[in-house]
Amino acid sequence: MAIAAKKKKQSRLVELVNVPLDWLEERSGIIGGVKYFLFRKVPRDTSWWHTLGSATLTAFLVQLGTGVILAFYYKPHPDTAFESVQRITNDLTLGWLVRGMHKWGASVFIILMFFHMARVFLFGAYKYPRELNWIVGVLLLVLGMLEGFAGYLLPWDQTAYWATVVGINLNGTGPFVGPFLAWFLQGGAEIGGNTLTIFYALHMLLIPGAIIGLILLHLYLVVRLGVSSPPWSDEGAGRDRYVVTTNGRAGLVNPAPRSGRVK
């Protein structure tokens, strides 16, 4: 009797959770979408190496969150930028931590991108049919480093200022378009107040927007094409494998066509 009561209670609890989820699912299909995204088939031999991409994404999300909050208190003007960063670091509660997370997290993001790229390269995961995802990844790497370059100016101290002078003038020595690129970046003939606001806008809006868009594309391709198995796997690419029947788009029906083992 007690067991039956407990079961009844449990089922009511399950219902309590499920009803709103079902409501949402029926009207948006979002639960199914999330399930489809999260519970994909992956090769049996995936390892910790395959988590580097997610780690990079996590590092980027940390940058996104801390960056937005730093923007609450940062004042992008030549007269106030340095003082506002000092205030964030020294005066505001936990400001030192969030700024530190953003500053060091930037390096973590870049380093993880390189590790992720090395993993993909050494595993041969850039090969057919994933070449496009490699290209998108390279664009993300370039944008990530541009983001770092733009963000480096924002503390507006001597290091930041002169590093940016050198960085802009390096661009300026590019043949033909170089000088025009330099003038565009510094917002005029010389580095000045406009440079700071331009770099602020690039760092806050333009480049992160582009990165978010490309990350979505990157993830879409991962979901569509599936995760590749490591080279030592006996399900690896190039080995004989069981025939996989593909009706429709291979990636969608069998998220990992190269390693899918049909029983």
Binding site: W162, V165, G172, P175, P179, A189, G192
Partner: protein
């Protein structure tokens, strides 16, 4: 009214709605621009609206409907039905949507892109800088002078020049000659320093170009802290990565005051002081060759474009 059975009853093709739309557009523009335009627009809209309504209601008022060829051959031509596919209309709408969309996108985007790029290249010339009385620059001495190149922008526009009074020009006894060298390294733009003793005291001079700081230095050379570029006291490169001699400023003497004019780039300097022979070019960015084969890589400078 004739029965139309299964066929949808739609009004015939008409140009009047276009005129009506133009009239409405005129009214809207006129509300912003001027009342006469709005009045003309209202008139156009009224006339075309009337014509349109008259045509649409023609069926109900018992007027014969105008069908092309209906007068010549009363029985409708069925043979052509296959030819008159709906495809072309479909295609027309598709293309006009794309075309109109493209046009609107262009109208919106072009000024935005223009604003994104053009301000950096227009109105870039700086005012001449008043450096104060000539007594601040005694003969034969190097004075490190910092000033605001653009007082409206504030401290961020503080620049440094090394100024040496070379004494009077030989054949013009009352006109002093100056050597004014920019401290911007022509490798990558770091600030070059005077390598030599530096006076403890600095002189503060107020001019309309903000507060200037004038410090006496005794350089044996100029050298850059970033990547080791080195120059002699005429600005010629002696070592390191720079690709030409240090930039110089033109100057003029206004009564008893020294006035700084725009900078120019220098390939090399022969001789020194008032008799120096200077190979000068338009002002260009650091790291850019002004002479030799490498200069061909930079056919146009933004300074040539900026006005």
């Amino acid at each position: 009214m004739e029965p139309h059975g299964e066929r949808p009853h739609v009004p015939g093709p008409s140009l009047w709605p276009i005129g009506f739309a133009v009239g409405i557009a005129c009214v809207l523009v006129g509300l912003v621009v001027s009342w006469p335009v709005a009045a003309v627009g209202a008139a156009i809209a009224l006339i075309f609206g009337f014509l349109w309504i008259r045509e649409v209601t023609g069926d109900y008022r018992g007027e014969p409907r105008e069908v092309a060829g209906a007068a010549a051959a009363p029985p409708p031509v069925v043979v052509e039905e296959q030819e008159l596919s709906t495809y072309s209309r479909n295609k027309f709408l598709e293309l006009s949507t794309l075309g109109l969309g493209g046009l609107i996108t262009g109208i919106v985007t072009v000024p935005i892109l223009g604003f994104a790029v053009l301000p950096a290249f227009s109105n870039q010339e700086l005012d001449d800088v008043d450096l104060g009385p000539l007594e601040n620059f005694p003969e034969g001495k190097w004075m490190e002078t910092t000033y605001l190149s653009n007082p409206a922008e504030g401290e961020v526009s503080r620049r440094t020049a090394y100024i040496r009074n070379n004494g009077n020009i030989p054949d013009r006894p009352n006109v002093p000659s100056f050597t004014i060298i920019s401290n911007r390294c022509v490798h990558l733009g770091c600030p070059v320093q005077a390598s030599g003793p530096r006076a403890k005291q600095e002189k503060k001079v107020k001019t309309d170009a903000g507060e200037m700081l004038i410090t006496e230095v005794t350089p044996a050379a100029f050298s850059c802290p970033c990547h080791g570029g080195a120059y002699d006291t005429e600005g010629n490169r002696t070592a390191g990565p720079p690709v030409r001699a240090l930039d110089r400023y033109a100057y003029s003497i206004n009564g008893d005051r020294l006035v700084l004019l725009p900078a120019y780039s220098v390939a090399w300097v022969k001789g020194e002081g008032p008799s120096a022979l200077i190979k000068r070019y338009g002002h260009t960015g650091p790291g850019i060759h002004v002479d030799g084969v490498e200069a061909w890589l930079y056919p146009i400078q933004p300074t040539d474009v900026a006005s």
